[in-house]
């Protein structure tokens, strides 16, 4: 019974994405990216193919994250505003199952987006590299879907949730470089302020996923990242989606409807 409820919620979440033309929107975004990439390729004097691959992969990744994140936020906000949530929960349905169903649905929505994003890469990059990049992107999008669900359940409103998702994503992508910079200052290595900053950055690194290790455009441009890296991405994604799902459930149980 519970599994069936979760599956139905997931199915309707995927149907909603299809009927709101989410996938076509993403295809349109990809077409725009490829037009821009082609323009840049024409400008390049050297390494034009490398530039095309790297730019299109990086822009596609960002577009996928943006489109999926906004879709998750918009979908749940609409459900809150239309009182669809109250209607759903008036049935014999646990709150945790509601979160699980929605989370599963959004993760399933992430898969076609990752597939659409990967198809053009097959034309530009070697097959193993494109496969690894696509899988890694799917895992990253699963984290983004879970993050967006957690944020909208916690904040209830679109703007704070979108701001948090954006900030979180940028920080998770930049944290490696920030750690590198904070660990190797050029002067006054032992100052208290620097030590505090280094601890703070290290603490952040423990609780944030290292998104800079996912779906790097360098894999497509310069050679595959390796299946070991993709496996590590899979472990990280599984752990983090579970953490965000549990956090979303925690907040959702405390919510007064």
């Amino acid at each position: 019974m519970r599994r069936r409820q979760i599956a139905i919620l997931a199915r309707y979440t995927v149907l909603e994405a299809a009927r709101t033309r989410l996938f076509w929107l993403f295809v349109a975004a990809l077409a725009l990216i490829f037009a821009l990439t082609y323009f840049l390729q024409q400008l390049a004097i050297t390494e034009s193919v490398r530039l095309q691959i790297a730019f299109s992969a990086a822009a596609t990744r960002l577009a996928a994250v943006f489109v999926l994140g906004l879709h998750v936020l918009g979908s749940v906000v609409r459900e809150f505003d239309d009182k669809g949530l109250e209607l759903t929960l008036s049935f014999d349905l646990r709150r945790s199952d509601y979160i699980l169903g929605r989370l599963l649905g959004f993760v399933l929505v992430a898969l076609p987006i990752a597939l659409i994003a990967t198809l053009p890469q097959f034309l530009l990059a070697p097959l193993p590299a494109a496969l690894q990049w696509g899988l890694s992107l799917a895992l990253e999008l699963a984290i983004v879907a879970a993050l967006s669900l957690f944020c909208i359940v916690t904040f209830n409103q679109l703007i704070p949730a979108a701001a948090f998702v954006s900030g979180f994503y940028v920080l998770a992508r930049a944290l490696w470089a920030i750690r590198l910079i904070s660990e190797h200052p050029i002067i006054d290595e032992n100052s208290p302020a620097r030590q505090v900053m280094a601890w703070l950055v290290d603490a952040l690194a423990l609780v944030l996923p290292a998104l800079d290790r996912f779906a790097q455009s360098a894999w497509l441009a310069d050679g595959a990242g390796g299946w070991g890296t993709v496996s590590a991405n899979a472990v990280q994604a599984a752990v983090y989606v579970a953490l965000l799902g549990a956090a979303a459930m925690f907040d959702f149980y405390r919510r007064n409807l």
Partner: protein, 241 residues
Amino acid sequence: MARDERSLDAVPQPVFAALIFSLALQIAWQASEPRPVARAEALLAPPPAAILRVASLGEPVPLAQLTTLYLQSFDNQPGISIPFRELDYPLVIRWLATILDVDPVGQYPLMMAAELYAQVPDPARARMMFDFVYQQFLRDPDRRWRWLAHAAIVARHRLKDPELALHYAREIARRAPHAPGWARQMHILLLADMGEVESAKILLGALLSSGEVRDEHEKHFLLGRLEAMENAGKSSPPSKN
């Protein structure tokens, strides 16, 4: 924002347990990952300056500064220092040039080139950095003269290449009219040091008679130098270092 929330008792125990367990798992996973360590080979080619400008969203200065710090993390690592000789110097120069393209007013990349990367005990690489400083000086002499002056001093005393030092010093005198007197007179002192006392005297005399030196103390100092040159020319051979 104030929220009308239910108490913690409303949260089922398994949800609590799942949250704690997954958080512990995340921390354990990240703690098991190696700490970020800069590797010389990890320094990739810089993006084109035009793309960096677009990425800066109209704020090129902070982006240039962040890029500088990123580059710096590849070379300055107390305890686990990457020897400069392991760095790909042409690549480092491309990064420095890109940063200067994005933020032409910034001095940081020139400081790194003249004072950090040029410290390498490999004269060829040090010269590479000095040449980069010289090329950048030519683009904006009045703002960048001091790094070329530094290069001239290092070329003279560490590289033991007075010709190169003299070339840089002459370029400062010729192209940087707003540089302070000591920098624009450096070539005269270098000439004297190289034993070209006559040339130095002629240049110093011309400088004094041109009226360019207005400060009485500076005039006094230069006259003293002129006199010292004459005495040194009579009594001792040129120095050899």
